[in-house]
């Protein structure tokens, strides 16, 4: 099963081989700043993700930002969409759920880094909540 996705402007497109991990919503400070709220993601083994376009009309494309000593975040340099997150050595890529063209019935199964959550919203969803990663 191949699923496709893209950033908002289309400079970065990808395909991914299923199955996709269920959705985790991260409330950590980095995800809040990057996304503007909380970052929802699925995840696959890194070798199951294929970039199908990485070049916009003006040379735009995927750029990796080293967000910590052991992780990086991939975004589009044209529209700024937050597409990917990888932890060094884990060989997995987290994919921003909002960038998938079809979510195929994925469900949110946990909220993480609740210790860092903003004070301007409540989580009323029934998915389990964790103070940190789990």
């Amino acid at each position: 099963m191949s699923i496709t996705g893209s950033c908002e402007c289309g400079a970065v497109t990808y395909s991914v081989q299923g199955p996709l991990r269920d959705v985790t919503i991260c409330h950590c400070g980095q995800c809040q700043r990057t996304s503007g709220h909380a970052w929802a993601s699925t995840s696959v083994p890194a070798d199951q993700l294929t970039l199908t376009n990485d070049a916009g009309s003006n040379g735009a494309g995927l750029k990796w930002y080293p967000s910590s000593e052991n992780a990086r975040r991939g975004f589009c340099t044209e529209c700024g969409s937050s597409l990917f997150f990888e932890v060094t050595g884990e060989n997995r890529t987290a994919i921003g759920t909002g960038t998938l063209h079809s979510t195929n019935g994925l469900k949110t199964t946990k909220h993480i880094f609740l210790a860092d959550k903003g004070d301007h919203y409540d989580i009323a969803c029934a998915a389990p909540q964790f103070e940190h990663y789990d």
Partner: protein, 100 residues
Amino acid sequence: MCHCGQCRKQSGGIWSSAYVHQDALAISGAVQWFASSKTAKRGSCPRCASFLFWKANAEDTISFSLGSLEGATGLTLSKHIFVADKGDYYDIADSVPQKP
């Protein structure tokens, strides 16, 4: 809280924001502006892509992300918008008013 397709693609989830008059917001550092439609643009950091601003061309207000604020905000959510475009992988279970 905006659930539209553009906000979900750019943020990865849902975009939460507040807004002020454009004269009340001082920006330091570089902003990458993306014309997301004929009527609006979105501003992000060129280094890490943090999705910071949304600005309607014809309006004199500017929206800024709540995720980018430091410390306690003292704000409360007032509405969910573009709920018709929301993803199928989450439910909105709070009592905040929703608009399609």
